[in-house]
Amino acid sequence: MSVIILLLIASVSVASLFLAAFLWSVRSGQFDDDYSPASRILFEDKTTSSTKQS
């Protein structure tokens, strides 16, 4: 069952990667605003010129 060590290494390294990402995102204020991001995606960034390049 020594293969479990391999799986643990792989799983834990990915988990710690996610943990680092989580800590970064919290500290850098990614989640400070939990209201406007949900609404922001609804706005289409249509341009004023409204010309479309083909």
């Binding site: 293969v3 391999l6 390294s13 990915v14 990667l17 996610f18 991001p37 922001r40 995606i41 479309k52």
Partner: protein
Amino acid sequence: MQVETFYYDNRIVRAFGYATVVFAIVGMLAGLWVAIQFYAPAASLNFAPTTFGRLRPLHTNAIIFAFVGNCIFTGVYYSLQRLCKARMFSDKLSWIHFWGWQAIIAAAAITLLLGYTTGKEYAELEWPIDIAITVVWVVFGINLFGTILKRREKHLYVAIWFYIATWVTVAMLHIVNSFEIPVSFLKSYSWYAGVQDALVQWWYGHNAVAFFLTTPILGLMYYFLPKAANRPVYSYRLSIIHFWALIFIYIWAGPHHLLYTSLPDWAQSLGTVFSIMLIAPSWGGMLNGLFTLRGAWDKVREDPVLKFMVVAITCYGMATFEGPILSLKSVNAISHFTDWTIAHVHIGGLGWNGFMAFAMLYYLVPKMWSTNLYSKKLATNHFWLGTIGIILYAVPLYWAGFTQSVMWKSFTPEGQLKFQFLETVTNIIPMYITRSVGGTLYLAGAVLMSYNLYKTIRQGKFIPNEEAQAAPLLKTEKPKREYWHRLLERKPVTMLILSLIVVGIGGIIELVPTFLVKSNIPTIASVKPYTPLELQGRDIYVREGCYTCHSQMIRPFRDEVARYGEYSKAGEFVYDHPFQWGSKRTGPDLAREGGKYPDSWHYNHMYDPRSMSPGSIMPQYVWLLDNKLDTSSTAAKIRAMKTLGVPYPDGYDRVANIDLMKQADSIAYNLKKDKIETPADVEIVALIAYMQRIGRDIKTEQKQRMTMK
């Protein structure tokens, strides 16, 4: 601040979208074909490539990696650009990704039908394709992270987090599970053996469901559902919490696929505990999706896109509740190896993945061609065909699974097994027929969609580069904590590098298996390596996909021991590269098949299963009787096995073929005694040698013990 003007790349989205539709139809056709073979074995056409064992991996691979894969890329390439307010990092990489992925699919289709397979479910593709997948995945990763880096929107919307998690985890899973030693250009052996191989495989298999069929689709849900409903997601906070909870818990639940097998008990319990915990984040996602539509249910009545999404999210909720329940040992004892599992995955596949893909396509195509959907009515008809299709597919299979399991476990008052295995199969054939009717309806709906989208495209005008404007990201300088701040600001780069390190860990880990080989020292003294002929026969067993219908794992239950023999021990599988435990018993378990029937029985049974067991639904394997056995590969195979730690004597690879022919001649002689004339060098002889060997080692040990008494 200066506003920048830039263009979204719609061409790449269109390409992936077309591929999604094409492979939806292809994958479903393959599925329907294998479903029909359950009650009409003649549908295998007596032709190797169209026989269940080869067509079923084609179906699963086509649906998972071709249909859902292309669907993910369609949605990611569309939403990521808009969420980041930036064009994709590199158009060139986008197209390498697209054509690379389609080439992999084509290579997969050809090799699987020709019988080149690693024999590990959902990871059947052989080593050159595995390498190609890794390369294309890295290309996708560079493009993904590159776009995130050049984004004009500081906040990473929750969907992007789901995409990131998908990329990182799939990279790791694919690499770890694909360790194999090449024997020839298209043949390899899994680096791991037996129990260890099973654990790695289901760690992969489970997380492939988690990070290929779940997290990316959740990301798509968080983008396309609010867009289609034109209202923000119910709770953005919940979306973040359930994302982090989901990805931290999912990865530990794999062993629940191996309950009651030879896997150590503590590992099984670990899998169960994490599976139960998964209900919370999964349902967090489902409720968040459904609640987004609060106060907008009138829109659901009108809009086919929302209809598909509501059913998709509901199916997600059902499947993620059922999953943890199935990982309770007492429930699993009933469900495992039956059609219950098939019903379960199709609630996820048809309901969650399929309907989300359809919803996305119905939303995207009118947008990108700046027109309206050609016919809402046709789309609504598609919705009902699909929904009824899912019900007609799943309900009969739940019924079939439960019925068959109960029949397997029934005993007469005298203590004998009440039903022959075959009786339990013929009993559920009506359910198999109904299931294929459900599948047909579902497929018909998809065809309707293709027509509807085609007409929509015809009436619209495609916008290849969509203009957009946004201000660039401000680099705010905070003088005091400048060092830290900058470091954090650049974290996406760090993150990309870290991700690549994870891939690099693959390289380090490459060394670990060589240490692991030592632990392959057999714990049961009577378990011996396969003879060269048996090894060749085993490869034919893998090639024909026998494991898709036959398990080799007797669980420690009274009925299984009574029906098949002594329950399976971990030590029996130490030379099995790859393991062949299987996950479904359409046919009986074969773990103690050796010595049960004479050689001639197997010969006749392979030629025509119904001549030996009337009513059997097994396909004929006529070509095995004529195909010459390729003995030129024997030496390379023996050498590969030796590298993996199988104790063949030194230099055995050079003389292996002599032993092989000796054993083949003795089997041909046995067959001759039963009035079957056959040359000794055909594939059927090798397969018989393997079949007669399975589970034998422990039997002889028991016999010895008996005589000693």
